[in-house]
């Protein structure tokens, strides 16, 4: 039954991907779209008629496809990261950003925008966001480490404290150069607009590896979800699991966020929705959160691109405005008192 659900969600994802290719400020006829798809398939391409313009081909291949695949990868990494982090903290209102990721990545991005770093070429902003995001997680983790163990509450508090500190530095940077607030603001609200194949390639690889590594931990995470001491008593190496999971989440989500900016809501809510549909076991929650995160983010991006023609609204605004009422509705409809007690 649960496999049927997962299969259905995956099918839904494929449909969403295909439909999203139609949405954009330029209308592209369905026949041209199908021909462009065909032209991308090796060997088959020579048999496909080329009844489309170069501009149409560029719009589909250079703009829409990387944006949609970016949405899949980023949504999946946020959803999976959320499921793993919620298990580690045994707390359904945590998300990947809580361990300092978001503040670190925003420091990297904003610093590179405001201070005009170009040490890594044109992708300095992305690389700086990635490196800073990871670094702040490490700082939080090592601050929270006490006698070889990391207590969830202590890690949570350290994460919040360090995030506040780093956010203050971000605010200071923005204050010193208000000219660039526009660009930084756009990054802080998140957008899939700037994703191209070049930046997408490393992120796809990183997210695939980290997601798979997190999935391999699903039984350990199930045990930790029931408490560190219980997990140890059934044979789980709690500290190692936490270390691996936090590192993998940090790696995957930092990579995602580095090309999209901060996209909220997905990491928090998709694991809930997965649990409502498929129960609490991470064997199903992790893949379902990934698929649902991908579907949700592509849909949000479609709205961000489509609602005002020609203007791309930061996707963080869409995820908030559209996502939260939707969440409230499903929470009421589906929980049936599961989170009480």
């Amino acid at each position: 039954m649960k496999h049927v659900w997962l299969g259905f969600l995956f099918f839904l994802l494929i449909i969403t991907i295909l439909l999203s290719d139609f949405i954009g400020s330029v209308r592209i006829p369905i026949l041209s779209l199908l021909e462009i798809y065909g032209s991308q398939i090796p060997y088959l391409s020579q048999f496909v008629p080329h009844g489309y313009t170069l501009a149409q081909e560029q719009i589909i291949i250079q703009l829409r496809e990387p944006e949609i695949i970016g949405g899949v990868v980023i949504g999946a990494s946020l959803g999976i990261g959320g499921a793993a982090i919620q298990s580690i903290f045994r707390n359904p209102i945590t998300e990947p950003y809580i361990i300092g990721l978001s503040s670190g990545a925003s420091l990297g991005a904003v610093a590179s925008i405001v201070l005009g770093f170009t040490i890594f070429g044109i992708y300095t902003q992305q690389i700086a966001a990635f490196i800073f995001g990871l670094s702040v997680v490490f700082i939080v983790y090592f601050f929270a480490l006490k006698g070889g163990r990391v207590h969830p509450t202590y890690l949570l508090l350290t994460g919040v404290a360090v995030s506040f500190f780093v956010s203050a530095i971000v605010a200071l940077l923005l204050f010193t150069n208000i000219n660039l607030q526009g660009e930084a603001f756009f990054w802080l609200l998140g957008s899939l607009e700037n994703i191209n194949w070049t930046v997408l390639y490393p992120v796809v690889i990183i997210v695939l590896i980290t997601s798979y590594a997190i999935y391999l931990q699903h039984r350990e995470l199930d045990a930790i979800q029931m408490g560190d001491m219980h997990a140890r008593s059934v044979g789980v190496n709690v500290e190692r699991t936490k270390r691996i999971t936090i590192f993998m989440v940090a790696l995957g989500v930092s990579a995602s966020v580095s090309i999209s900016g901060l996209i909220g809501f997905v990491g928090l809510v998709m694991p809930h929705l997965s649990r409502m549909l498929l129960g609490g076991s991470n064997k199903h929650v992790i893949p379902a959160s990934g698929i649902l995160g991908a579907i949700f983010l592509i849909c949000a991006d479609d709205i961000a691109r489509g609602i005002v023609p020609g203007v791309v609204i930061p996707i963080g605004i869409v995820t908030g405005i559209i996502g939260v009422p939707f969440l409230m509705y499903f929470m009421r409809k589906l929980t049936g008192g599961r989170y009480e007690g």
């Binding site: 330029v26 170069l54 829409r64 990387p66 660039l180 194949w197 695939l208 791309v312």
Partner: protein
Amino acid sequence: MNNRLKIVIAVVVVLAVVVGGFVIYHEDATGKAKGEIITITTGDNIPYKLTRIVSLDPAATATIYALGAYNDLVGGNSYDFYPPNENLPNVTDYPSMDLEQIFNLSADAVISFSNYSGAQISQLLNSGINYVFLSSDAGVNFSVIEKQNTLLGELTGTVANATLINQWMNVSLSTLHEDALSYDQSEYNGTPLRGFYYLSSYGGYWTAGNDTFVNSYFQYADIINIAAPYDSGFYTINPENIVNESPQIVILDDSINASSLNATGSPFASSPAVMNGKVYTTTSNEYMFTEPNFRDIFAIQWIIFMVYGQNPALPSFPINLTYNPNPNGVS
């Protein structure tokens, strides 16, 4: 655990090859030559004339019109006010960039003054679209504006007109400066007035500091820009400095209500400028204060007119244009 590791490594290698191949395939998909980044420093290195330009820079739109290359524009932006009645498709504003429309217009170049992200720029370049960056930030003075005119002239094949405009600018600047000096001499015994340009009240007292084109206006009009010593570029000045410098004239952007300067606690409340009613609001000419291009000459003319009550004559504009470039109502 070892088996797991082997599986992971195998999966990674396969994925890396597949995704990598896919990406390389995509990068070459369109087969077009890559675009270039063009600035006044790099100069015009492209072997062809631009004929399908998208301008995200209102200053550049005006310049291209004046150069006589308006037909080469295929896309504009929502800040374009000169020439009036423009009917170019609007290709959105910073920090967003409607790449789909730009591709759809088959643009060969995008002109911008904003700090678009590297990812956005590389999307353009990868698709064979050139990116022309014209700075409007600190460091832009009249010599930079003239270089920008020349560059736009080269890109559109209208260098002769660019040279004419630059010559007109140089003559105008020296005429205006001489006039300002003589008006100052006769009215204020040659002691320059202290002036302040109040650009925006959003988040502080925004002004133009040293190394800005607005600072040049003050210099040619023989007025001391009180904001220049404290910082360069456009910035928010500490109100204590405004009180301390007690400006004798204030040039006010029309987004700011002039009565706010009299309000209790305003750093301008006790300044000579407010006491003597020497606060001048930019109106139809406001874009001359925010756009670095040839029309800035008219901004200096306006300042001199407002401050000294005199109307300095300018040489007539060298290119015959349907729409008068001078918003001061003088040709």
